[in-house]
Symmetry: C2
Subunit: 225 residues, 2 copies
DNA sequence: TCAAAAGTGTTAATAGTACACCCATGA
DNA sequence: TCATGGGTGTACTATTAACACTTTTGA
């Protein structure tokens, strides 16, 4: 039984995190300036090696937490990148994940410590390895999923206005949306509930705050934007 | 530089292939009866270990070729399965792929040699490891992609009748389709071209054979079924 | 009083769905 | 001549897209 496995080679396996956040209303990624080899000086995704005592999914959660301090974050696997020379140092097979975080909540200290910065998704710098391919696949997947399920709300605060939500979907889809058509659709989603609270931070008049209701969503999870 | 990597563990990495084919008009998977440990006697997907001289994608192509003799097959990565104990023998991280093959073309001898059989997708046996999860994710992905891109045609012969194509999409979507509505949609896809040939094998009258035109498709790749 | 964001319905266009009969052929 | 699968068009329904004005309030 041992021979069945041990005639085969083993590999370093890493995870890389494409971390989406909304900064000043714009979709952004949390990227690191590498101060270590290989490709020192270039920008890259937050990553880390899978360890013996954790699943690959758990490794991704750990790596995300190391950078942001956050747990219970919405994450999806993007795919595995396994070209022989994708890492110029050693052969490493990497599994990419994307995460959607609320930028009001992460740990600023940790992020500074890692020399990480939020970079607008339309203005990405040169990235190391095959990270550009990971990012474009993640964007595509996230965009598609966000139009079929309300995962985008993970990027907003727990309480949000309809204007914030519309602007979120405008940046995700990269196109403008008609306000009345947008609100008509949202009104049909019973799990997006109007509260009695009003946000006055972005207009004199103030706007009602809404919240996502898990249970109502699982009863009737229709969504389409 | 060496230390950066070698403080980390290494893992066996395998690929598993979910091989779709049309058998007697029904969507089926090519599965192996395991005559080796672990889980000898159970059914499983065709798999193999990634080697040093190949990318992960290439390993999947190699493994598919070992079983079917086929090259240049339509394949998509399904995802990576990395639970610690997913393989009871040793820790193995596995990357799943699905393939769409034309059942007229594979190598019968190779398939027999591996004790592989076509099993209707509605009638799957007990499978080893996490193969059921791989299969259900593959089905879902394939179904979604097949409704947005004409990848399903990889399951048909190069020349096919509209009845064959309709029946294909009926099994993929697991629902009946109205014949006139179906043909109306196909008529709008200029890259699905009517030939002058007629297939008499499934009706007295005979039906026109159609073919897929690559170049026409890249000019105007609209598709929706 | 006015600038700036919040809020609100109707109509037109498009896409999707339902539905039934004649045709050509070989046995 | 008849059983079998091949082939065709129209009317109805549902969904999506376009569009403009009033409200509230703090400076």
């Amino acid at each position: 039984m041992t021979t069945y496995y041990n005639i085969n080679p083993q590999f370093y396996v890493s995870v890389d995190c494409i971390i989406f956040g909304l900064n000043e209303g714009e979709l952004s990624l949390l990227l690191l300036k590498r101060n270590f080899e290989p490709e020192k000086g270039k920008w890259s995704l937050m990553g880390g090696f899978v360890q013996d005592n954790e699943s690959v999914d758990d490794a991704a959660k750990r790596v995300l937490k190391e950078l942001t301090g956050l747990e219970n974050v919405y994450m999806e696997q993007v795919g595995t990148f396994g070209e022989i020379n994708r890492d110029p140092g050693e052969r490493v097979i990497s599994v990419a994940y994307y995460a959607l975080i609320n930028v009001d909540e992460y740990d600023r200290k940790l992020v500074e410590k890692h020399h990480a910065k939020w970079i607008n998704i339309h203005d990405l710098p040169d990235l190391s390895f095959d990270h550009p391919a990971m990012i474009s696949k993640a964007k595509e997947l996230m965009r598609r999923k966000a139009s079929l399920e309300p995962i985008g709300l993970n990027l907003l605060p727990r309480l949000f206005t309809l204007s914030q939500m519309q602007s979120l979907y405008e940046t995700i889809q990269d196109e403008t949306i008609d306000k009345r058509n947008f609100r008509k659709k949202v009104a049909e989603m019973d799990y997006i509930e109007k509260t009695e609270m009003i946000d006055k931070s972005s207009s004199r008049r103030g706007a009602y705050l809404y919240k996502f209701n898990d249970k109502a969503y699982s009863r009737d999870p229709r969504f389409k934007l």
